[in-house]
């Protein structure tokens, strides 16, 4: 399992990384690997505001449909529209080109409550 050392993680397998005061969000390498081939990613509209833990989208693989959740509260300021045509980027580059949304966080302190990479690894290993 690969980890992005610069990101923090939700127990529900989303990662969150601060870039220029925004929070970039995707799903972890572990999450994409357990889903196998991702064939569709449904993302919110830019401008939507959602609370931490609220479902912001849906990731679908050949045999599974999974909700993805806001790691922090805030406004969606950007979505990765390239996933429309190339959802497989979530498999090939979960921390890079497979990013899903950018959030302008309403309460940046929520990031402190997310798991550090090593804690997320322990969480995954514990099953």
């Amino acid at each position: 399992m690969e980890l992005d050392e610069n990101a923090k993680y939700a127990q529900t397998h989303e990662w969150a990384r601060v870039e220029d005061e925004l929070v970039v969000v995707g799903i972890s390498d572990h999450a994409q690997d357990s889903m196998s081939d991702i064939v569709y990613v449904e993302l919110p509209e830019v401008g939507d505001s959602m609370e931490q833990g609220e479902e912001f989208g849906v990731v679908e693989s050949a045999k599974a449909v999974s909700d993805v959740y806001m790691p922090v509260s805030g406004e969606i300021v950007d979505v990765n529209t390239t996933l429309d045509a190339s959802p497989e980027l979530v498999n090939s580059s979960p921390y890079g080109d497979g990013w899903m949304i950018k959030i302008r966080p309403s309460d940046p302190s929520q990031l402190d409550g997310l798991l550090a990479p090593e804690d997320y690894r322990a969480h995954v290993d514990a099953g």
Binding site: S36, D37, Y40, E60, A62, K63, D84, E88
Partner: protein, 382 residues
């Protein structure tokens, strides 16, 4: 075949524990993810991933463990008459070593199962779906009473593998002296492959050239490994294929999957399987089908492609342009070769024509779709 007592014991075992095929541990070794399917623990995908597994089968060779499928040997003086009676297609005209698809119907016209009937040397072999095994055998026994036939359930001792893809025959040729390519489509032969005696049927469920193999359970590892090794040795791309890709491979060329396109409650006219029915003979369920035909078929199976983005799934409602519910999705997926979100649905007959705009309701949101010409993928051998 198993008597009533054994049958109920089998059912009990299934309820408490999943059956494992002889290759179970080998699949795990190959990185498979195992899921429950028809009471068996089966590989749904391997490390390769289902989309690439699909593409490998279309471009080279895929091998499939389908030992969960059942086989019933039908013998005795009335074997032909019996099969003519319970299978919709014409069995009488099968020459030795020929085989054919057909359906077993309820008296009310619903489908008990779809089957593949092989005429072998001195008996017939009926290949049935794992999920329907007990039901099928009960159905066959019930209708066998007036006939002088023997029925033997060979499912446990018979191993079944499929080898499918444009290079499947070339691969098999590396493992036998027999002229595999000499076996015509929908024919079979008794062959020794790496010294293992087997029945090789030139058929499959992928839309590609290929075969299905039937042999003794104890040889499963040898045959499976020989197929993989021959690929490596002769530079023929070969991969094991899981149930996910098996589903997309059968969907694109328009093959029915029991429990989806056909079921106890969907009859073959609705499922557009009239081609598998010989109305010139008598068979169980014929009267109901004729009555249904005269009445007019009220709902029909269609294949659709989404023009919006989204993955259709079994059970999603189908709507007309006014948002009224007109049917239900029975199979849905991302179809790799046609590169489309597509599916099959059973809809009111008025909406069954090609190019009819429909909508698929995905998570309460209607998504635009269109009825398309079947099949999405024309089988390579046709």
């Amino acid at each position: 075949m198993a008597d009533g007592k054994n049958m109920s014991e089998t059912a009990e075992e299934q309820a408490t524990e999943l059956k494992r095929t002889a290759l179970h541990d080998r699949h795990v070794e190959l990185g498979a993810r195992m899921v429950e399917f028809a009471g068996h623990s089966m590989p749904v995908l391997y490390e390769t991933g289902p989309i690439e597994e699909h593409h490998i089968t279309r471009r080279s060779v895929g091998i499939f463990d389908i030992d969960h499928m059942g086989q019933v040997a039908v013998g005795g003086p009335d074997a032909v008459a019996f099969l003519e009676h319970i299978v919709t297609s014409n069995i009488a005209e099968l020459g030795e070593h020929q085989s054919r698809y057909g359906l077993m119907l309820h008296e009310h016209g619903g489908v008990v199962d779809d089957v593949f009937v092989y005429r072998l040397d001195d008996h017939y072999m009926v290949v049935i779906n794992a999920d329907n095994r007990d039901k099928d055998i009960a159905h066959m026994r019930h209708h066998a009473a007036p006939f002088d036939v023997t029925l033997e359930d060979l499912s446990e001792e018979t191993y079944m593998l499929a080898v499918q893809g444009p290079r499947a025959i070339e691969l098999l040729d590396k493992l036998t002296e027999h002229d595999i390519d000499g076996i015509e489509r929908f024919s079979s032969a008794r062959v020794e492959l790496i010294g293992v005696p087997m029945v090789v049927g030139r058929t499959g469920y992928t839309g590609e050239d290929g075969v299905e193999l039937y042999f003794g359970d104890q040889h499963a590892h040898r045959v499976w490994n020989a197929l993989l090794d021959a690929g490596t040795e002769h530079d023929i791309e070969v991969a094991p294929i899981g149930l996910a890709a098996r589903d997309s491979l059968r969907f694109e060329p328009g093959f029915a999957l029991y429990g989806h396109e056909i079921s106890d409650n969907i009859n073959p006219l609705e499922a557009r399987l009239a081609w598998a029915i010989d109305f010139d003979k008598d068979f169980v369920g014929k009267a109901a089908l004729l009555a249904h035909r005269d009445r007019g078929v009220g709902r029909k199976l269609v294949t659709f492609v989404l023009t919006d983005k989204g993955v259709p799934r079994e059970g999603y409602p189908v709507l007309n342009q006014d948002g009224e519910e007109i049917g239900v999705v029975v199979t849905g997926m991302y179809a790799p070769t046609v590169d489309a979100y597509a599916g099959n649905a059973v809809v009111e007959a008025a909406y069954a024509a090609t190019d009819t705009p429909i909508q698929i309701e995905i998570r309460n949101k209607p998504k635009a779709a269109v009825v398309v010409k079947r099949p999405l993928y024309r089988p390579a051998y046709r």
